[in-house]
C-alpha cells in the first residue's frame, strides 16, 4: 500500500521542480516545495484515511476524468507560449463532439472521427487567421469565436446527438490493464507535444515568439505562420478532447465544454506558464492538470459538500502555487 502515494507524489513533484527553477535564493527554493509537500501530505492522508482513494477504480477515474482538461491544456499551452490565449476551446470541444456524432451516423468511425477533428482544426485556423493574419488581440479574437462557434454548434444541432455506431465509444471506454485507453492516449500526446516544443525548430520558434516576437521577426523567421500553427494545434487538441468526451458519455451535447477554457489556462499557469508568453512547460502543465484533477477527486472522496468544495478548491489552488512568483 505504500508504493502508490509515492507515484502520485512523484507526479506532483514535477510541479515542485518547475517552480524551483524560477526561484533563485534558498528561501525561494524551500518555499517552492510547499505545493509538493502539501500535496504529498494530502495524498498520504487520503491514502491512509480513505480506502477508496487508492482503489483501482478511483485512480482510473482520476485519470479518465483529467483527459478532457489534459488535451485541451496541451493546445492551450502551445498558444500561451506564443503569447496568445484561446478562449474558444470549450466551443470547439462542443463542435467536434456534435460533428463527430452526426458523422458517425453516416460514416464509419475511422473516417468520421478524423473529419470531426479536422473541422475543429478549421476553427483553430480561423482563430489563427484572426490573430496572425488580422493581428487582432488573441483575447478578443478567441472571445469572438467562442461566441460564434457556440452559436454555430447550436445551428448545426440544437439537441444532443446520440451516435449509432458505438465502436469508437467502446474504444474510449476500454482500458489497458488498469489504465483507461484515453489516458494513455493523452499521455502520448503530452510526450509528442513535449518533443515538438523542445526538439523541433517550429516548437522553439513558438517559444521564442512568445518571448520576443520582434526579435524572432528580425531573425528572419515567419512569425505569422508559427502563430497560425499554435492555434491549429489548439484546435486539434480541443477537437480530440471533443470527440473523446462525446464518445465517453455516449452523447454529443451542444452545450458541453463551457468554462473549459479557464480550467485549461489554470492548468498551464499553475504549471509555470506565463500569460505574457514564452514561459511554460509540458511537464508543468501535466502537473497542473493532475493537481486540478486530484483536488476535485479528493474533495469528492471526502464527501465535502459542493459549496465548501468551491472554497477548498480555491484554497488548495492558492496553496499549491503559493511559492510561485508573480509573472504578470
Amino acid at each position: 500500500m505504500n508504493s502508490r502515494p509515492d507515484l502520485t507524489g512523484r507526479l506532483i513533484s514535477v510541479v515542485g521542480r518547475r517552480v524551483s527553477a524560477a526561484n533563485e535564493d534558498w528561501r525561494g527554493r524551500w518555499l517552492s516545495y510547499l505545493p509538493t509537500v502539501a500535496f504529498l501530505v494530502l495524498a498520504t492522508i487520503a491514502a491512509v484515511t480513505s480506502d477508496a482513494f487508492l482503489s483501482q477504480g478511483n485512480l482510473s477515474n482520476l485519470f479518465r476524468q483529467i483527459v478532457t482538461n489534459g488535451l485541451v491544456s496541451l493546445g492551450m499551452l502551445t498558444v500561451i507560449l506564443s503569447a496568445g490565449i484561446d478562449l474558444s476551446v470549450g466551443s470547439i470541444v462542443a463542435l467536434a463532439g456534435i460533428v463527430a456524432a452526426g458523422l458517425l451516423n453516416i460514416l464509419p468511425w475511422p473516417l468520421a472521427i478524423p473529419l470531426a477533428v479536422g473541422v475543429a482544426m478549421i476553427a483553430g485556423g480561423i482563430n489563427g487567421t484572426l490573430v496572425a493574419g488580422f493581428r487582432l488581440p488573441p483575447f478578443v479574437a478567441t472571445l469572438a469565436t467562442m461566441s460564434a462557434i457556440r452559436g454555430f454548434v447550436y445551428v448545426v444541432s440544437e439537441t444532443p446527438i446520440t451516435p449509432t455506431d458505438m465502436t469508437f465509444g467502446r474504444i474510449v471506454a476500454s482500458s489497458v490493464g488498469p489504465v483507461p485507453t484515453p489516458a494513455i492516449f493523452m499521455i502520448c500526446c503530452f510526450m509528442v507535444v513535449s518533443l515538438f516544443l523542445s526538439r523541433t525548430t517550429m516548437g522553439r520558434a513558438i517559444y521564442a515568439i512568445g518571448g520576443n516576437e520582434e526579435a524572432v521577426r528580425l531573425s528572419g523567421i515567419n512569425v505569422r505562420a508559427h502563430i497560425m500553427l499554435a492555434y491549429l494545434i489548439s484546435g486539434l487538441f480541443a477537437g480530440l478532447a471533443g470527440v473523446i468526451l462525446a464518445s465517453r458519455v455516449g452523447i454529443a451535447q451542444p452545450s458541453v465544454g463551457s468554462g473549459l477554457e479557464l480550467d485549461a489556462i489554470a492548468a498551464c499557469v499553475i504549471g509555470g506558464a506565463s500569460l505574457a508568453g514564452g514561459r511554460g512547460s509540458v511537464r508543468g502543465t501535466f502537473a497542473g492538470v493532475l493537481l486540478l484533477g486530484l483536488i476535485s477527486n479528493l474533495l469528492n472522496l471526502y464527501n465535502v459538500q459542493a459549496y465548501y468544495q468551491q472554497i477548498f478548491k480555491g484554497a488548495l489552488i492558492v496553496l499549491a502555487v503559493l511559492a510561485r512568483r508573480r509573472e504578470g
Binding site: R204, G211, A215, G220, I221, G278
Partner: protein, 512 residues
C-alpha cells in the same frame, strides 16, 4: 573640409548602394534622401548626433522598417528588402542598438535563432551541436560567456551584447551592421571585437559601424558617413579628417574640451561601505564617498560593479556595514534608499530604467512625483514646467513631452534616464554607465551637469566602461576585478594602461 566622394573608381559595383533613402514617422522626418555607398571589404562608420537617423537607416537596410523613398542596390543589383527575412536572405546581419534577444531562451538558442542545427532529415534539433556551435561562435570572437545553456535574461548587459554580436557573425555575412556594439563593452572585449571585425573584412565582408566613441571610429573605419537631422552631411576618408573635424561635421559647431575643469574640494565621507558582500557577485567591498567627490569605478565586463551599486541602492540584498552621515544605513528597498538621499541610475535602460510605452512626461516624473503633486494629485502645470526644464537641461530631442519613449532614438532614451534622476536629485548619486549611447555633444552637457552637482556638494559614484570618461571625470578611481576591489588610483596616478592592467589582473597595476 574635404567632402571626399568615393575614392578611386572601383572596377566592381559597390557592395551596398543606398540612394535617396527617406523615412518619416508622423511628424518626424527621420531620414531625408540619404545616400550611402560602401565597397566590399570596407569598414564604414556612420556618425551623427542622437536622433540623426543612424538606426533608422540601418533598419531600412535590414528590412525592419519600410522606407518611403529611395533605392537599394547590393552588388549592383537593385533589391527591395521588404522584410527582415529578405534582408537575411541577402546576407545582411545586424546587431541592433536595442537588444533583440529572447529573454527566457538560452544563449545558444538565441545565437542560433532561426538556424538551429537539426538531425534526422531536418526535423529534430541537435542540442549538442547547437551548444557546440554557439560556444564556438563566442570563442572565435574571444568572448567569455561561460555557459551557453543559461537563459540570456540572467546575463549582465555586456554579455548580452556579446550574444548579439555572436549571433550576427555566426555565418560570414555579406554585410554586417553593428549599431553601438561597444557601448557596454570594455578594454579587451572591444579589442577582440575589432580583431574579429577586421578578420571578417579581410574575408570580404562589408561592415557598417555606428558608435559615439569617436576614437573607436578612427581606429576601425576607413571611411565615415555623417548624418545630421535625418540628412546627409557627407562621407569622408577617416585618414583625411581628425576628431575635432568630425565633431564639427556632426554637431555643426566647434566643441571644446568635453570634460569640464574640476577643482576637487573633498570633505568628510558621507557614505562608508565596509565589507559589503553578496554571494556569487562580489566580496568585501570597502569604499568611502565624500560630498563633492566623483569616484570612478572601472572594471572589465562582469567584474561586479553593477552588483555593488545595486546593493548600495538596496535593489539587491547584501551583507556588510554601510553608514550614511555616520549613521547606519541599511536600505530595505530602493524606496528606502531614495528617502535617505541615495539614488541610482541603472545601466540597462530598457530593463530597469524606462517604461517604454509611457510618455516622456511620465518617465521623467516617475521618481519625482512628490515635487509635482499635492495630496497625490499631479499639478499638470508644475509637471510640465519641471519636465520641460529637464528636457532642455539634458538636451532630449523629442516632438513633445507626450511622445512615447519607445519612439525616441537610443541616445535620447538614455538622456531620459539621466534626466529622471537629475530631476529627482539626491545627496548620493550612483551612476552606472550614464552616457551609454549618448552623442559627444550631449555627453559634454551631461559631464558638465555631473561636475556642477559635485561642485554643489553631491557625492557621485561613476561606474563606466569607457576609459576616457573615467579618466576625464573622476577624482579618484577604484578598479574591480572578479567581484573584488583590486586597485585605487588618484586622478594623477591614473592612466589608461594602469587601469587596464589592474582590471585585467596584470601584476604591475595591482596597487591595493
Amino acid at each position: 573640409m574635404s567632402q571626399a566622394d568615393a575614392p578611386a573608381p572601383v572596377p566592381t559595383a559597390p557592395r551596398l548602394e543606398m540612394r535617396g533613402i527617406s523615412k518619416r514617422y508622423d511628424a518626424t522626418r527621420a531620414l531625408r534622401g540619404v545616400d550611402l555607398v560602401v565597397q566590399p571589404g570596407e569598414i564604414h562608420a556612420i556618425a551623427g548626433e542622437n536622433g540623426a537617423g543612424k538606426s533608422t537607416l540601418i533598419k531600412v537596410l535590414a528590412g525592419a522598417v519600410a522606407r518611403d523613398a529611395g533605392t537599394i542596390k547590393i552588388d549592383g543589383l537593385e533589391t527591395e528588402l521588404p522584410s527582415p527575412h529578405a534582408a537575411h536572405q541577402a546576407g545582411i546581419r545586424v546587431v541592433y542598438q536595442e537588444f533583440s534577444l529572447v529573454p527566457h531562451l538560452s544563449v545558444a538558442e538565441n545565437i542560433l535563432l532561426g538556424q538551429l542545427p537539426s538531425r534526422a532529415g531536418g526535423m529534430w534539433i541537435d542540442w549538442k551541436a547547437a551548444a557546440r556551435l554557439a560556444s564556438a561562435a563566442l570563442d572565435s570572437l574571444g568572448f567569455d560567456v561561460p555557459n551557453v545553456r543559461r537563459p540570456v535574461e540572467s546575463l549582465p548587459v555586456s554579455q548580452r551584447q556579446m550574444v548579439e554580436i555572436a549571433k550576427a557573425m555566426l555565418e560570414r555575412p555579406r554585410i554586417l551592421v553593428l549599431d553601438e556594439p561597444s557601448a557596454v563593452l570594455s578594454g579587451g572585449d572591444l579589442d577582440r571585437l575589432f580583431n574579429a571585425v577586421r578578420a571578417l573584412r579581410d574575408a570580404g565582408t562589408t561592415v557598417l559601424y555606428v558608435s559615439h566613441r569617436l576614437d573607436e571610429v578612427f581606429q576601425i573605419a576607413s571611411r565615415i558617413t555623417v548624418l545630421k537631422d535625418g540628412g546627409l552631411v557627407g562621407t569622408v576618408d577617416s585618414a583625411s579628417i581628425d576628431q575635432p573635424g568630425l565633431v564639427r561635421m556632426m554637431v555643426g559647431r566647434e566643441l571644446a574640451e568635453i570634460y569640464p575643469a574640476r577643482s576637487a574640494s573633498v570633505g568628510e565621507p558621507v557614505l562608508r561601505v565596509r565589507n559589503l558582500s553578496r554571494s556569487r557577485a562580489f566580496r568585501e567591498v570597502n569604499l568611502d564617498l565624500a560630498p563633492g567627490e566623483i569616484l570612478g569605478v572601472f572594471g572589465l565586463v562582469g567584474s561586479g560593479r553593477t552588483d555593488v551599486v545595486r546593493a548600495i541602492f538596496g535593489a539587491d540584498a547584501s551583507t556588510g556595514e554601510m553608514t550614511l552621515d555616520g549613521r547606519p544605513y541599511r536600505p530595505r528597498s530602493p524606496g528606502d534608499a531614495l528617502s535617505q538621499g541615495v539614488a541610482m541610475l541603472s545601466e540597462d535602460r530598457a530593463r530597469d530604467g524606462l517604461v517604454l510605452q509611457l510618455s516622456l512626461r511620465d518617465n521623467l516624473s516617475l521618481a519625482s512625483f512628490s515635487r509635482m503633486s499635492r495630496l497625490g494629485v499631479i499639478s499638470k502645470s508644475q509637471q510640465r514646467a519641471l519636465v520641460t526644464d529637464e528636457i532642455a537641461e539634458v538636451g532630449i530631442r523629442a516632438p513633445s513631452i507626450n511622445a512615447l519613449v519607445r519612439r525616441l532614438s537610443g541616445g535620447n532614451q538614455q538622456k531620459v534616464v539621466v534626466g529622471k534622476w537629475l530631476l529627482r536629485g539626491a545627496r548620493v548619486l550612483l551612476l552606472d554607465e550614464p552616457t551609454r549611447g549618448v552623442d559627444v555633444g550631449a555627453k559634454a552637457d551631461i559631464y558638465r551637469i555631473i561636475a556642477s552637482l559635485a561642485e554643489r556638494g553631491k557625492a557621485i559614484l561613476l561606474v563606466s566602461s569607457e576609459l576616457p570618461e573615467i579618466l576625464g571625470m573622476s577624482d579618484r578611481i577604484l578598479v574591480m576585478r572578479g567581484g573584488r576591489l583590486v586597485g585605487e588610483f588618484s586622478r594623477h596616478e591614473a592612466t589608461e594602461e594602469r587601469l587596464l592592467a589592474a582590471a585585467a589582473g596584470v601584476v604591475e597595476g595591482a596597487a591595493a
